[in-house]
Each structure stands twice: as C-alpha cells, then as structure tokens.
Amino acid sequence: MKSAVVFFLFAALTYSFTTPGPVAATFIHKYSVAYETTGSGYTGLSLIRTTRAVTGQVATGCSFPYSGEPVYQTSWVMLNNSDPSWKEIGIGHQCNDTFRYYFWGYGLNGAWFPLGEQLGITNGQSHSFKIASNVLGAAIWDRWYIDSTVKAELQFQVVDGTGTEVRVGLETYAGGAQVLPYDNISMKYQKNAGGFSNWAGQDTSLVQSPLCGDWGGATSWSPGQGLGVCN
C-alpha cells in the first residue's frame, strides 16, 4: 500500500513538471542563410523579398515586435563577425502569423537596437529591401529603405568601411512552424559606399535543421522551414 502511494505521488509530480501546457512549443534558434563574402568593405545590400505566410506557429507575441516565438525573414550587413556588429532589415511573423511587421535596426557587440517597425503588412507581396551608405559632403550616411521609402538614417562613425560580408536568410525561434520556400531575388551588395553589384559565386551558405535553403542562382536564395528540402 505504502509503495503504491509513493509511486502515485512520484508519477503525479513527474507528470506535472514534464507535461507542456496547450500553447507550449519547443524553443529553437536556427537559421537558413546565404552569404556573399568575397573581399571586404561591405556597406550595403539590396534584394526583393516575398512576405511568406507562416503556419503552425504558436499564438504568442501578439502585442509587440520581437516577442513570442518569431520567425524573421531577414538580411544583414555584417560590420564585424566575432563580436558581431551589423545593420539589418527584415520581416517579422508572430502570433500564429496574425502579427506581422517590417523591421530595421542595427547591432553592436552582439546587442540588437531596433530603429523602427511597420505593422500590419500583408503576406504574398514582394518588396525591395535595401541598406545603403551614401556619401553626402564629408559625411557617410547609412540608410534603410523599403521600396523607395527611407525608413531610418544615421552615421556609423567608427565601423563604416569595415564590413566583412552580407547575408540573406531566415531566422526562427518557432519550433513547430512551417514556412514554404520563398524568394529572395536580385540580391546585390554595396562596398565602400559605392555602386551596387550582383552577388556572385554562391560563396557559402548555412542551413540548420529543421530549416532548408536553396540557391536559385548566384543572386537568389530560397529558405524555408519544416519541409525537409527547399528545391
């Protein structure tokens, strides 16, 4: 009798501490990324990206950007890789994909500093995303664009001209989500605040399970999640 009571108590406690609630999902932090890495001096990038629907995402993070279990369709200009500093522009999906937004900002020493968001965007649309450095007199201004609209502008006084590479891809914190492969096309880079050039050579890529990714050519990268393969 005594052993039966002890067994029951242990079973109940084990169940209560190991069984997830109805909205719990597995925490992950994974990427599907394409890189343009030839040489250095990267200051900008541009591409055309389709806002892709996310399915199977838990309904959390329904009030603020960067919350819940987000999926980011995004792109980075890396200014420093080891203690990362970067410029970023992308699309966020949260709350079972009912909370969507464009976002832009920068990173210093690994920390993320958002500069702005545009809420209420629509899946299935394609827009151009660009980060560019422009010489204006004696100053170099960094600008974040969606289509032809300047979303933010500022001056990095120290790190400009030292960019190590540009990246395009998918970053996910949503363990159970699925993202059909989507297009990032017309991918270009900018060096030393000059003109833009097409990505070339399919330099390198990194795809972490359960994501996938596929080069559609030197200037096109198609990432996805939860589908095995992307091509």
Binding site: L9, H29, Y66, W86, L108, N109, A111, W112, E171
Partner: protein, 161 residues
C-alpha cells in the same frame, strides 16, 4: 496507528520534495543580485510579467529610476553613431521613467555566430523602459556585460553628457 505512521511517511516525502523544489528555485533567484535604486528595482520586478512577452525572464539585473530627458540623451549618445532619434522624444522630458535590465532568454534578432548545426546563443539580457503610464518599451537586447553603458546613470558616471 499503522495508518497514522503511513500518513506521516507520505507527509515527510511530500515535504521533502517541496523543500527541494523551493530550495532549487531560491538558488536560481539567488544568482541574480539586482542593482539600482529600490523603487526602480521594484518597478522592474512588477513589470516582469509584461516583459516576459519577449522571452523567458530569470530575474532583474538592474533597475534605475531616471527621467525621459536623461533616457533620450543616453539613447542618442551612448554609441559612436550620429543621427539616432529616440522614440521617446514625444514624451514629457521631466517625467520619471525606469530603465530595466532583465536576465533570461530572449527572441530578438541576432545574426548566426556558430557553425554547423550548433545553436547561436539567444540574447540573455533584455533592456526595456518602464514609461510613466505603466507601459513598457523595448530598448535593446544583448549579452550580459556587453551592453555598456547599461543605463543613463552609468553613461553620466563614465563622463558622458
């Protein structure tokens, strides 16, 4: 009598498990020693539920009561970057606000820094502003010890304007 002994044994077992859990949780909490002013830390503790939208919160690292003016100056001047316009500029500059730093595991954007299938560490510090109306506003997220100056007061102490 036998039944009483059984009940006593079960009580000891449950009590032991409960004490173990409480001690374990207390141990996690004990690793975080919040710094700042008492009112600021208390405000951050009370706002922790709302801040947990951004991820799992383990505790308050820092809470500093200051003014909107001081926060605007700090946000615009803390980095070697010109042209930053704080999103708090439209608020009354003399109003009091709190800068809160939480430890935890957050879901903010960060570039991949690992190779192979190894997971890039998520941000482990969340910094939010607790506004006069009680709402919170994300400032930034990063890694412990790498977000200096952490507060307007720290920037002033370092000789910033």
């Amino acid at each position: 009598m036998r039944a009483l002994r059984r009940l006593k044994g079960v009580s000891i077992l449950v009590g032991g498990i409960s004490l173990g859990l409480v001690a374990g949780l207390a141990g996690v909490g004990a690793q975080i020693q919040a710094v700042g002013d008492a009112a600021g830390i208390r405000g951050c503790q009370e706002a922790a539920d709302r801040a947990s939208e951004y991820g799992a919160i383990y505790g308050v690292i820092r809470g500093e009561t200051t003014t909107i003016d001081a926060i605007v100056r700090w946000q615009e001047q803390r980095h070697p970057i010109s042209g930053i316009h704080s999103r708090l500029r439209n608020l009354s500059g003399t109003a009091a606000a709190v800068v809160c730093l939480y430890s935890g595991r957050f879901v903010t954007p960060v570039p991949q820094t690992t190779t192979g299938d190894e997971e890039t560490p998520p941000h482990d510090v969340l910094r939010v502003i607790l506004l006069p109306d009680g709402s919170i506003r994300l400032d930034s997220a990063g890694y412990r010890g790498r977000m200096t100056p952490e507060t307007p007061g720290e920037m002033e102490a370092q000789g910033g304007s």
